[in-house]
């Protein structure tokens, strides 16, 4: 009697656990939890958040958690666009870093005008930002056309901009490195006086809300998934696969513009060779960590964004533990391999069936 009750309870418990584990969002959350527990065990002060005054006398929140949320903003914003591109085209855009250099360069060009060291802003920041969004979307469209209409592999198509982007960026500003002296320009990458939370966190939140609304009220999710799973059948169902692919690249372009804006605002200047270097790999990783299939089709936006935060959490943890300069990439690689393998659909299926077997054996024993 009691044993059967037990079994029943066990079963419902198992079912709920299984339900949670089988959710896509489980992997990034689990990874986040592991990192949190690890840091908590190693040094509880990791989670201390304090409000101090900056040198300009404004209140500022500081602490590792704030730093992570702050620095992950660009990654999270880019992950939004990359998830859509991955879903619809079944490939990745590797020109994100170079495109950020272009976006940042355009931004500074408009703000600074012709002089590299302007005393005042030559154009309102909002105007510069809009121009920067337009240019980035145009470059996104360029990638999109190559992928959708010319049917070039996304990675190969975006290789063009990947190699040329930083040269284009330096050419936009005549190879000068403009420095903006107006403190207002720095608000968007740092703090707005009086508000202790870093501005990039707000910008990232806005982007997330916008994309959530878009996914809720338009057919973007359905269309891009349909195109990613089977472009032919989606065409037969009245969706234009080329247009959808192009659209995802343009959306990524908009994300790039926002990320580029934050990046140049952080330092009020730009260095074409190193700005957002290798960020494309981190973004693709975020998408993969989210358990999304890199060959297109279904996707979970929440998981991708969480993946971005996991990566920044990991980076900050490694920096905090002063992992030696040469080894930092290796550590990251090991963790990433484990996470990606864990989140691969095949491995999860195998693990699931293995667990079932073990558990069923147990219950058999119990019954006996």
């Amino acid at each position: 009697m009691s044993s059967s009750e037990n079994k029943l309870q066990n079963n419902t418990l198992l079912a709920t656990i299984k339900k949670i584990v089988s959710k896509q969002v489980f992997i990034p959350i689990a990874a986040l939890l592991i990192l949190v527990i690890f840091n908590l065990a190693a040094d509880p002060s990791f989670f201390k958040i304090s409000v101090d005054k900056s040198s300009s006398g404004d209140p500022i929140m500081s602490g590792f958690l704030v730093t992570i949320l702050d620095n992950a903003s660009e990654l999270a914003i880019l992950a939004i666009g990359m998830t859509l591109v991955t879903s619809a085209s079944g490939g990745q855009d590797i020109s994100v870093g170079s495109a950020i250099a272009i976006a940042g360069s355009v931004m500074l060009r408009v703000v600074c005008g012709t002089s590299a060291r302007p005393e005042s802003l030559h154009a309102p920041i909002i105007v510069a930002f809009l121009v920067c969004v337009l240019v980035s979307m145009a470059f996104g469209a360029f990638n999109g056309v190559l992928v959708s209409y010319c049917k070039i592999q996304p990675m190969v198509a975006t290789l063009i901009l990947f190699t040329a982007g930083r040269s284009i960026a330096s050419w936009i500003n005549n190879n000068q490195l403009p420095v903006v002296s107006d403190p207002k320009f720095g608000y968007y990458g740092n703090f707005i006086p009086g508000i202790p939370v870093p501005t990039p966190i707000f910008i990232a939140a806005i982007c997330m809300i916008v994309i959530a609304l878009i996914l809720k009220f338009t057919n973007l999710r359905l269309y891009s998934q349909a195109v990613g799973i089977n472009p032919h059948s989606s065409r037969l169902n009245g969706i234009n696969p080329q247009l959808v692919k192009l659209l995802t690249f343009v959306i990524l372009g908009a994300c790039v513009a926002v990320a580029g804006f934050i990046k140049v605002s952080r330092l009020s200047t730009i260095n074409y060779a190193v700005i957002a270097k290798d960020i494309e790999m981190d973004v693709i990783l975020a998408v993969a960590l989210g358990g999304n299939s890199l060959s297109g089709g279904k996707f979970s936006m929440t998981s991708s964004i969480l993946g971005a935060y996991v990566i920044q959490f990991l980076t900050t943890t490694l920096i905090k533990f002063k992992v030696s300069a040469n080894a930092i990439a290796a550590y990251k690689a090991v963790v990433v391999i484990i996470l990606v393998v864990m989140s691969a659909p095949i491995v999860r299926e195998k693990l699931g069936s293995l667990k079932k077997k073990v558990l069923s054996r147990k219950t058999v024993k119990e019954v006996a």
């Binding site: 040198s55 730093t67 050419w171």
Partner: protein, 361 residues
């Protein structure tokens, strides 16, 4: 059947040749960039992109002058890297163009490329044109022997600047280079002259393995090993990236560790570090809590020095033209000329220094 075999064979031979050639190329391009200007090596492909733009950019800048005044002018062929490569290179090229003018008695031609093979082709062109001097800042270290031999046979004197190459010393007159290790030592000596009771240093490194990183890190490492009161709080690479530098310093601040020196291996990274200090309300600069050290002498960085926000900036001298001018006019005294490189102290720097030594806008 035989035919097919023949075709296959020839295809195999061709592809192996192609492979061999690409092998050579990548080897030649295998170079570490000069860290100056805070630039890392641009990607191989973007290099070729830039090189394409400037390819065949061999221009005779003062052709008319040469015609009117043929016997007097010294003909020099200058082979340089693309001035767009970095702020350092831009300053270097500008210096060259300002020194080798008609007024100074030169008839200069310029060729730019970031590719070794294109540079060698340009050198051959200059030899055919019969220049008197060949000035080379080589993109890669290998493959120069033949062309230098040709130059010697034709009685052309070769002077290397900024970068050395793997060739016999007899093939060139002189080589004018920066000593990165000395740059580091000068900075470390300055730091030790500050007589702090304790040195707790955040060391932000450049791209690992680049000559600038090795030289500048080496000096600090050996000093820290030798002195008891010098400790490294954190030593990590930010790969010349300001933002990564900011994150590294932020992490040290967040963990509450004390430090009083920031040793950043270029100006950009020092700037990122200072940004983190400002956020945390840690005072820095002359007579403040934290000493900030940068390298490369960008103009904006020297201005920070002038304002007293930073303490020291080490020079990486892009101005080799005067040395070359001296060698051409007075003959070479030694094979390897190491340029004098200054370090600027915020306490003594003047506006003149900023205007004279600052790189960039």
């Amino acid at each position: 059947m035989k035919k097919i075999a023949k075709i296959l064979l020839s295809a195999a031979v061709m592809s192996s040749m192609a492979l061999g050639m690409t092998g050579c190329n990548s080897e030649k391009k295998d170079e570490t960039t000069k860290a100056a200007g805070g630039e890392t090596t641009t990607t191989e492909a973007s290099k070729s992109e830039e090189a394409d733009k400037t390819e065949g950019d061999t221009e005779a800048s003062s052709e008319e002058g040469a015609k009117t005044n043929d016997g007097e002018l010294i003909k020099v062929g200058i082979i340089n890297n693309d001035p767009n490569e970095s702020g350092y290179r831009t300053a270097n090229d500008k210096d060259m163009r300002e020194t080798f003018t008609k007024e100074n008695g030169y008839d200069a031609s310029f060729a730019y490329s970031l590719k070794n093979d294109e540079q060698i082709a340009a050198a051959q062109q200059f030899i055919q044109d019969g220049v008197d001097y060949l000035l080379i800042s080589a993109a890669g270290t290998a493959g120069w022997d033949t062309v230098l031999q040709d130059a010697q046979d034709a009685g052309i004197k070769v002077i290397l600047f900024d970068r050395t190459i793997d060739a016999d010393e007899s093939l060139y007159e002189a080589s004018i280079v920066s000593d990165m290790a000395k740059e580091g030592e000068t900075a470390v000596d300055w730091l030790s002259s500050q007589n702090l009771s304790e040195y707790k240093i955040i060391h932000i490194q450049g791209v690992m393995g680049s000559s600038a990183q090795i030289g500048r890190s080496g000096a600090l490492d050996s000093k820290v090993a030798a002195e008891a009161n010098w400790t490294i709080v954190s030593q990590q690479t930010a790969e010349w990236n300001a933002e990564t530098a900011q994150q590294i310093v932020q992490a040290v601040i967040d963990s509450g560790e004390k430090f009083n020196v920031i040793y950043a291996e270029n100006d950009d990274m020092a700037k990122g570090a200072v940004q983190a200090l400002d956020k945390a309300n840690i005072s820095h600069g002359v007579g403040k809590d934290v000493i900030v050290i940068g390298f490369d002498c960008n103009k904006w960085a020297l201005e920070e020095l002038l304002k007293g926000n930073w303490n020291y900036d080490g020079q990486c001298n892009p101005f080799q033209a005067s040395y070359i001018d001296d060698i051409i006019k007075n003959g070479a005294k030694q094979k390897v000329v190491i340029m004098e490189e200054k370090g600027f102290d915020a306490a003594t720097i003047t506006q003149d220094d900023v205007d004279k030594y600052g790189i960039g806008n």
